[in-house]
């Protein structure tokens, strides 16, 4: 399915019914909107692993502006504020009220931007392997620890000048360090990659290098689940700790995954998915209890 919103045509996909027959009633399931990483990658990386959540939630996948099967739009609008407003508008247009917003890596930047720009929208935030500002210095130190001096040099070259040449070497040398269980070549070939967007966003001086959401995270008004791998080389554990510290006190559940790197749902699905399920269910139950309390 596709939908025209604002100035763009967005591809989205849905799995898992929202209304389930349950005795004499139709039971409502919560919605989880998944925002993929990159930027310049697409939603396919979430499949098939996230379809296991369809028993507790309806899953909405989308390719963000400029990515995958969505329209490219005007490259000057490949910005976090635009991506966040796209997602908020998509939800509003489809009547999705108070969804969980799940952001992986770059998708987490968009999720955080959305949560501060549209605080009334998300019912819950799930931030997985992400950061509120890019710290290449921290990343280079971890790359060196995990892959030696050569990995550090290859990473430094890419982040200094993101282009076809530096990216090829980065894919070869640094991507294998991102995960303990790297994506299969098949999974990688399923992804549509927009390199122009990736290089543009992360070029020195561009938004991917200058954004900093830390001071705004106190505006987040929904419960947040923060997932981070102890040995994540690109959005480091220090980055995650900064997010946890910047969110309003008492609203963030912070789960650190030992022996995991970037994308804990890939490196430790057997630990990560039960935590996600528990968070979605408990936040949904708490809200329903609160409503019953108001009504009685």
């Amino acid at each position: 399915m596709r939908i025209k919103i604002r100035d763009i045509s967005l591809f989205f996909d849905i799995d898992g019914i929202g209304l389930t027959p349950d005795g004499s009633a139709m039971r409502e399931k919560p919605t989880i909107v998944l925002i993929h990483g990159g930027p310049g990658f697409d939603h396919s990386g979430f499949k098939p692993a996230f379809s296991t959540l369809t028993d507790i939630a309806q899953i909405v996948y989308l390719d963000v502006r400029g990515c995958g099967r969505s329209g490219r739009g005007d490259p000057s609008r490949w910005r976090l504020g635009e991506w966040a407003e796209d997602v908020a508008t998509l939800c509003d247009t489809l009547g999705i009220i108070r969804p969980f917003i799940f952001g992986l890596s770059f998708g987490g930047y968009v999720a955080m931007q959305l949560a501060v720009d549209f605080p009334q929208l998300p019912g819950g935030l799930i931030l997985s392997s992400t950061t509120a500002h890019l710290r290449i210095d921290r990343a280079l130190a971890v790359f060196e620890r995990l892959g030696g001096e050569h990995a550090r040099e290859v990473a430094a070259a890419f982040w200094q000048t993101p282009n076809e040449d530096t990216f090829c070497r980065y894919v070869e040398i640094c991507f294998p360090l991102y995960n303990l269980r790297p994506a299969s070549p098949e999974a990688y070939s399923r992804v549509i990659i927009n390199r122009e967007l990736l290089f543009r966003f992360f070029s020195p001086g561009e938004e991917g290098r200058t954004f900093d959401l830390r001071s705004r995270l106190r505006e987040v008004s929904c419960p947040t689940l923060l997932l981070a791998g102890r040995d994540d080389p690109i959005t480091t554990i220090e980055d995650a700790q900064e997010i946890a510290a910047a969110l309003p006190a008492g609203t963030c559940r912070f789960e650190i995954f030992e022996d995991c790197r970037h994308g804990v749902t890939r490196d430790a699905p057997e630990r990560a998915f039960p935590i996600i399920r528990e968070f979605v269910s408990s936040v949904t139950d708490e809200r329903q209890d609160a409503e019953l309390g108001v009504a009685s």
């Binding site: 209304l19 004499s24 999705i96 070549p185």
Partner: protein, 314 residues
């Protein structure tokens, strides 16, 4: 927009108000629900599954009647459930516009709004009337049609005879009153009490299905009233215009869209496009009375479409 407003004025429910909907170009918003992803990871590629749009029966009832029986098809196709305008969680729009043409055009408008191409459209009972309106008015649009427990017209004499043979003269009298255009509350109530239980021939209804649906009497009165479209609609003269493979599924003991109706409907469709599956002993609709038989027939039909055994204009 009544449903949206309701959602927004309630702080409820976290994780989504379960009223996913899309506004059509006419300004009317239709509720829809989705089961199964369209794109699936398959080796080194993302594989596109067909889209199967499910049109519920009625009038007056909603999409919930189709759950969970059709769910097994989600492995083969992305299922999209819709509430017709004036039904369930969808907008009413202007009730003067409630007609098979308008309900049928809504399906086209819905597909355009979400850029759904080459849909397979399944119409159950009253939903089958809508599917025929949509497909005969826009013959190039559907990839395939499934007309399940439905008919091209409502033949009163066949209905009355069927109810008399199943429930005696009392059932005939109640059926004559209701189908004769008396859509008053009492006639409807009597029909639901006396005749509805005769719809099912193999498995008794458990009762929960009724409770799970939102019932709205207005479209029943509009469609079934004395000047209602149920008196006059007839797709037999236009069914030859269909251009897509069409599966007709009929219960041999269906009292309301009878086996004779199904045969004449199938006979009006181009021979190279039609498939007729008669389910022995089944009443109305087959999907509740003998779901395994209906799912087998659809499964076989979907495989035929995929393999090109039956192709039509596409």
């Amino acid at each position: 927009m009544e449903s949206r407003d309701k959602c927004l004025s309630n702080p409820s429910p976290i994780g989504g108000c379960r009223e996913m909907r899309i506004r059509l170009k006419t300004g009317v918003s239709l509720f829809f629900d989705v089961e199964g992803a369209k794109l699936e990871a398959h080796g080194s590629v993302m594989r596109n599954k067909p889209t199967l749009i499910l049109l519920h029966g009625g009038p007056g009832f909603d999409h919930a009647q189709m759950k969970p029986e059709y769910s097994p098809l989600a492995t083969q196709a992305q299922l999209i459930y819709i509430d017709h305008r004036g039904h369930g969680r969808s907008d009413d729009g202007d009730p003067d516009q409630w007609s098979l043409e308008r309900w049928g055009d809504d399906i086209l408008d819905f597909c355009e709004a979400l850029e759904i191409v080459d849909p397979i459209v399944l119409g159950l009972s009253f939903g089958g009337f809508i599917a025929q309106a949509y497909a005969t008015r826009h013959p190039e649009h559907p990839r395939a049609l499934i007309l399940s427990s439905t008919s091209a017209r409502l033949s009163r004499e066949r209905i009355y005879a069927a109810f008399e043979s199943l429930g005696g003269t009392e059932a005939r009298r109640v059926a004559e009153q209701f189908w004769g255009g008396n859509s008053s509350g009492s006639a409807m109530e009597e029909y639901l009490r006396v005749c509805l239980p005769l719809y099912r021939r193999l498995r008794a209804e458990k009762g929960d299905r009724r409770a799970r649906q939102i019932f709205r009497a207005a479209p029943v009165s509009k469609f079934g009233g004395p000047r209602g479209e149920s008196m006059s609609f007839n797709f037999l003269p236009v069914l030859h215009e269909l251009r897509c493979p069409t599966l007709v599924i009929a219960g041999a003991a269906d009292p309301v869209t009878t086996i004779a109706d199904a045969r004449e409907m199938a006979a009006a469709i181009r021979e190279d496009l039609r498939r007729l599956v008669v389910v022995p002993g089944a009443g109305h609709p087959v999907i509740w009375d003998d779901p395994e038989a209906e799912l087998r027939a659809i499964d076989r039909f979907l495989r035929e479409i995929r393999s090109g055994t039956v192709s039509g204009a596409h």
